[in-house]
Symmetry: C2
Subunit: 418 residues, 2 copies
Amino acid sequence: MSIENMIKTMAGDAKTASRGLRSLERGRKDDALLRMAEKLVAHRETIATENQKDLSAAKDAGLSAAMLDRLTLNDAVIRAMADGLREVAALPDPVGAYSGMWKRPNGLLVGRVRIPLGVIGFIYESRPNVTVDAAALCLKAGNAVILKGGSEAFHSNIALGKLLTEALNETGIPEKAVQVIPTTERTAVNALISLDDDVDVIIPRGGEGLIRFVAEHSRVPVLKHYKGVCHIYVDQSASFEMAKDICFNAKVQRPGVCNALETLLVHEDAAPGFLPEMAKQYEEAGVEIRGCPKTIDLAPGAVPATESDWPAEFLDLVLAVKVVGSMDEALDHIETYGSQHTEAIITNDYERSQRFLAQVDSSVVLVNASTRFNDGNQLGLGAEIGINTSKLHAFGPMGLEELTTTKFVVYGQGQIRK
Amino acid sequence: MSIENMIKTMAGDAKTASRGLRSLERGRKDDALLRMAEKLVAHRETIATENQKDLSAAKDAGLSAAMLDRLTLNDAVIRAMADGLREVAALPDPVGAYSGMWKRPNGLLVGRVRIPLGVIGFIYESRPNVTVDAAALCLKAGNAVILKGGSEAFHSNIALGKLLTEALNETGIPEKAVQVIPTTERTAVNALISLDDDVDVIIPRGGEGLIRFVAEHSRVPVLKHYKGVCHIYVDQSASFEMAKDICFNAKVQRPGVCNALETLLVHEDAAPGFLPEMAKQYEEAGVEIRGCPKTIDLAPGAVPATESDWPAEFLDLVLAVKVVGSMDEALDHIETYGSQHTEAIITNDYERSQRFLAQVDSSVVLVNASTRFNDGNQLGLGAEIGINTSKLHAFGPMGLEELTTTKFVVYGQGQIRK
């Protein structure tokens, strides 16, 4: 069978399975999730053995120590995956909730009820534990999922998928509810994103190259973000102590993630009192500052920023810094160079805090808090399958509810249209 | 300037305008809408003169009387457009509403606030009055809109666009908030749907060919439905009187629209008591019935249905009819041939009414009411820009709220991520 035909069959099977999942009661889904958790722990040696094949190939291919670390499924990581499954089981089921019901003048009772999306194609380059996390969230929201992981984690993903399927079988849920694509060929991605009759949404997670490829070629709607060029604006009324803590945390705590700070904007009245000490803290932590001329004056260790630094997602200990004459200049800068991902203001001015919240067109806008809080767990969504920076369906972090949609139900008594 | 460059400039202008619209208070938007209404009525002779150019060309091209009727902007149609603008002005503004706010254990206050989508590309083949309806809804929801109507309505659309722009100017709203593309070239559509940096969503309305073209080539997310293959299932417990009224209304009241009935499914126990009389009513109204063998037995005027009749959207006085052995057979038929648009059950059985509502995967599912109620106005959304049958963002009719999205706002007191 060609890869195209194989993927088409998988998508058809997923669609059939999704029909069975549509009105499955919560308990059945939770049983399956808990059984999955048991299985992972019970079969952790099998998982580790299969994972070893990926690790050996990765070493031969000369992958970095950091990459090898991300790829490793040891006891601790497997137990963490099992805990993740149990946490998803404990979350409320979004399916079936009415988000309103109203009576029309002709007596029709009209309501909106939450339903699963249907079939989700999840394409990722991340750690193999994402296989389990994504499967858990999709299943809990009543969706069938087709998973296409990175080739470097192929054996690990297949092993995990096999255990998940067994758990589905043992708890009487259609086994095609979770399918791992059994090939590393890129053609499989092309095939999956063309199947708009059977697949309801594609969620890609990984490097900007993968995501752009998917977004440009998919006939299926895509939820995604290309990158996070996150800004903090330090207002002249800010507490400099608070500003330093937040700006340090946002850049340094985990520089390789999409909600890390990439450009710091400082009001010119705050700059003299704030920037020299801030720059010193950054430099001690190994952060390279690329600044505008005024920044260079106040932070002698900084190097001059070039035009390409303003739209850059460094994902590293590098920070662009610009001194601005007003909040409007900061807003213009964010509008021009931002990625609509996460922006924060540090201020003690009421009017400017409200104006910043209202005017910044990003999925998460914060006052006096770190950009690192743009995360489904941190914002209270319970869990997260990804972050979407297109405006449609779900702008920002996506939890269980964002893996569902609503339909209208109408209770009539014989009404016809006049 | 090439058409590509012209559209790119228009999209950039729309994006700039959308920034101004983002936090525009309701009163300003309503003023503009009311001014638009005044202008249409005041300049109805100019509109009629420009419309005459389209009508002459359409006559020369041999368009049908029905098409000419749809194209005509006479006094009554112009006054109806003005009334539509006033109705949109009277609707609540969806922008700025919080759909929840909660406190996290670390003290962060997290809320979700409704915001405009940004820039909408609206591509349509419909009557020229759609130009005004779409512009009104997009503006009220705080969006800039780029309108590309059908070539047969070109002069009418340009004339309407000019008046809308004047109203924006006179009420101090960025005039690029509403732009009509000043060319009939199809290249303009190709250019518009490629601009994913500046355009947030594309809404196509018209024939299935246009919509498939847009959906397959757009890099911008698309909200659309291809067709409405709507079903009614008449259960054995149905009141046959009610069933006849509803089935007649759903097929005959306006057969050319997407929420009209296309396939009637009848339980075999209901068929002998229901179908002969129903068929007689249909035949008196000129409806051609294409039936399964059992239907033919009960309705001698029917012709045999072929496989191609089951997925067909006739948009005409033609109806496919099938007698089924059970509700499950009806559900399977809908799953196989339906378009996820609108489905209804006629029943007096409680359990089956609930099961039909739960299991049918369509944007609107009704009990004992006509499929013709799948409409934003009829369901109480206030107005409608179209119907979406993809699961993302808004499943079903889209009103003002569906032309917006939500972002997260976070009120902190210095919180950082541990």
